[in-house]
Symmetry: C2
Subunit: 523 residues, 2 copies
């Protein structure tokens, strides 16, 4: 790798006015290099099962391998791909591995990838209709297609006065909803009343809602994480919500926004939308957002659609197609009942963007539905996913993951050393190794938790599977989320073998050492 | 196209449990389809000069062509690519066309595209170091490379206690800076003081700063667009800033944030950073962000670096690699002096993300430097751009655009019917057709503006070039921004011919009709 040692050559180049040697977008060179990268990635998918799923590198590994400065001259793609193999791949945690069961999946697919390629290749900046009409109109159409697949009520369709928009992530979507709700409330209450507004979720709600509230200037004391209980399977209880709201009202505060979750991150709990929306309706100006980031995808299957019953009373709804819907990162699908509320809070109309399309009032200018001005042609990838696979296959694909999770759950349930901690709802199993009698004092939650921390680390350090954890109700549990696109039945079976082997080893090593001592150390 | 007519088949599929027919990520099918799309895009770049640059479709054109619902069964890629050619391409405004001179460029390249492919293909979700160490570490390294290329002071390098981050867009970057500044101020003043905070820009500052202020809950009355003048070439005058600040302080308000711009959207004006930062320093807690979204790229050339002199006194700096740096959308490069301020305002630490990497305190968790939790592996494309072209070629590429803009400026200056409205600084020429004596009353700005509105519309309706407009100091001018990757000298020459021809026609048609009437109608 050459590197930029000095600027000695700068003036030479500047005065010589040397022509750019090869056009950076020469079609034939693009073709040649594009084919190389396709082959590189096809080989990556072919081999990805061989790599340790969780990267095994130490902090700072890459600085030791790469130069300190950018090269002064061009380097061939062959060299760069070689460096990716040798230097980058070891630092990758392989979300595309068939043995990836961590967090929630990032389920890319051929169609999702090709859609991103087409979007990136055409490279339009679709901030308003005029800047590339097809980008806006395809998004309108695809969001209506998806709304029908999810049986969302007509108030969320464009024809019903609502509409859908592709955000990058749920965080952005929730932030936009919250800002719309905030400004709708402040229009009524007065702009100086921002410190009275309160945002509600549960102690299981994703951290993005608290972050969105922080960004939107909601007073930090005014975010309520209403406690959930094991009796409610860690879902938000409508009575608990009402009690929290009433308490705030009594203190002179104003309930602004509720984020209800369908498929929480820790345990895929389902907040009861109907009951929660009924509570919110009693405080007429509250905005209810339904965050179905993970589980929304499953709701295209009739047998799971009940999870979002009640959404017809909500103000906005979102799910991430990049999680469990074969669409490569990033793609958050959001629908709103009242697009005007978003537009009032987020629109800007500088002179240099004035155009006939906007003035016709017949078009959507998506810049006013999101944080940023610039936006990618994301609907292209969703369109490719929907058409390349079709609704029936998409449903079967999701069902296949649920079936695999059920298989894993059966394995766990059949092994008396383990327990399923919370009931499985979709394709994630939350389980833990039980403390063997005599080894860990009964009732010692912390020691039982430590046992599972060690099991998790042992599994992940093996590189043969990757799982992550959560703590609900004080119980540390291992989350086993099926959803990576390449995962097949045999990978789930292998993961269970890995878990069992490490559990056996761990229990043996605990028995052979002091039964109390080692288990209290955090690894 | 098949369509989803009913759910009659749902239960059949559900009970049959039909296996997914082809894996959505089968490596060989990925390879076959990937090669097809590469060829499709290579052909697109080969032919893009033939298409009307600005799409000529009418609102609603696409709904008439596409079905109302997603297909139930899969459709072949061949059919989808055919539909892109027939239905999508006509609705595309071709930002990749060599005759695209509108807004600012969206300068994709082979390397930028390939980097996005690799990022999308590997498809990691790099929210923290642990989730894929290479994604974070490569971003650290590449941002330091770029900081050196821009000769940013060491306070913005990781080694100097600062650091760089890739945001999607400038809007997101500014929002993060502003929220960090806001919370730093409110920690000092008290959380209930948000309504006293004031944000400053000029009347030429990009609308994203006002939008960021809105989102962050800054009182809508507290955004100051300080007026600029032609005498200052529409840059923000430090004395005018000081006067605005002092007036606010006298009213009991608190100056919070200044956004200074290097290369404004309307006319590429350069705010004098040194003078402005000195003013801000007198109000010690003010945060100064330097928005060089467009012009920052040019600052890798020694002859343009002076445009950001004074940045060493700023708190944050950003430019868009997706504008004029061969990096496909989206990629905003931002550096901050005090990452801790971002982290304090934007961090979240849920249990399910706890990990050894974070606890080691030796790593960056970029989720705490941005709005969203999820993030793409954007550094991959920047790394490919820097290595594939090298610093010397990148500079020459930018210089080539500046030279072409200079050529266009020379053409305009040599034609007495036209004038260059503001001095050219980078690769954009702001010009207008002068009102011919006798045709439009002297001093009638609105009629002169109308003449240029018509000229712009005629040029764009021809499909042979695409330009957009701005209004500064009441003067409507046509912006001619060179920067599309495929643009060569001959395309600039052709664009000038198109402008001249339409000007000739327009002046002739004005002369042959009522000299007063038609020119006051807005087209």
């Amino acid at each position: 790798m050459g590197s930029l040692q000095s600027d000695a050559l700068d003036n030479v180049a500047a005065t010589a006015g040397a022509a750019y040697p090869v056009s950076p977008l020469d079609p034939e060179e693009f073709r040649r290099q594009g084919h190389m990268v396709i082959d590189f990635l096809a080989d990556y998918y072919h081999d990805v099962h061989k790599y340790p799923v969780r990267s095994q590198v130490e902090p700072g590994y890459l600085r030791k391998r790469l130069p300190d400065t950018a090269p002064n001259g061009p380097e061939p793609l062959e060299a760069i791909l070689g460096d990716i193999t040798h230097d980058i791949i070891p630092g990758i945690t392989h979300w595309m591995s068939p043995s990836y069961f961590a967090y929630f999946p990032s389920s890319g697919s051929t169609a999702g990838f090709l859609g991103e390629m087409l979007s990136t290749g055409i490279n339009v900046v679709g901030f308003n209709w005029m800047s590339s009409p097809a980008a806006t109109e395809l998004e309108n159409i695809v969001m209506d297609w998806l709304a029908k697949m999810l049986k969302l009520p007509s108030c969320f369709h464009f024809s019903g006065g609502g509409g859908g928009v592709l955000q990058g992530t749920t965080c952005e979507g929730i932030l936009c909803s919250l800002v719309a709700a905030r400004d709708r409330a402040l229009d009524r209450l007065g702009r100086d009343q921002i410190a009275r507004l309160v945002v509600y979720g549960s102690d299981q709600t994703h951290c993005s809602i608290q972050k969105a509230a922080q960004i939107a200037g909601i007073h930090p004391d005014n975010f309520r994480a209403v406690p959930t209980t094991r009796a409610d399977a860690f879902s938000l209880n409508p009575s608990a919500l009402r009690a929290a709201i009433d308490k705030d009202i009594a203190r002179g505060l104003v309930p602004l926004f509720l984020c209800a979750t369908v498929g929480t991150t820790s345990s895929t709990a389902i907040d009861p939308l109907e009951g929660l929306c009924k509570v919110a309706k009693d405080y007429e100006h509250m905005w209810v957002h339904v965050d179905a980031a993970y589980a929304g995808a499953a709701c295209i299957c009739p047998e799971f659609r009940h999870a979002i019953d009640g959404v017809e009373m909500a103000d906005s709804f979102s799910f991430n197609a990049h999680k469990w819907f074969l669409t490569n990162l990033d793609c958050c699908c959001m629908w709103v009942r009242e697009p005007g509320a978003l537009v009032r809070a987020l629109s800007t109309n500088p002179e240099y963007l004035r155009n006939k399309g906007t003035e016709s009032k017949k078009v959507v200018d998506y810049k006013d539905w999101q944080v940023a001005l610039s936006r990618r042609f994301r609907s292209m990838k969703l369109w490719l996913v929907l058409r390349s696979y079709g609704v029936a296959n998409l449903r079967n694909f999701l069902r296949g993951h649920v079936k695999m999770a059920k298989d894993f759950e059966d394995h766990v349930s059949a092994d008396p050393r383990f327990e399923v901690v919370v009931p499985r709802t979709f394709a994630m199993v939350c389980f833990r190794l039980l403390s063997p009698p005599g080894l860990v004092a009964e009732g010692s939650t912390e020691r039982a938790n430590e046992l599972n921390r060690r099991l998790l680390e042992a599994v992940n350090a093996s590189g043969r599977a990757y799982v992550t954890h959560a703590v609900v109700g004080g119980v540390y549990m291992i989350r086993f989320a099926v959803g990576a696109t390449l995962t097949e039945v045999r990978h789930v079976a292998e993961a269970w073998r890995v878990v069992k082997e490490h559990a056996t080893d761990l229990l043996a090593s605990c028995r052979s050492s002091d039964s109390a001592g080692p288990l209290v150390d955090r690894a």
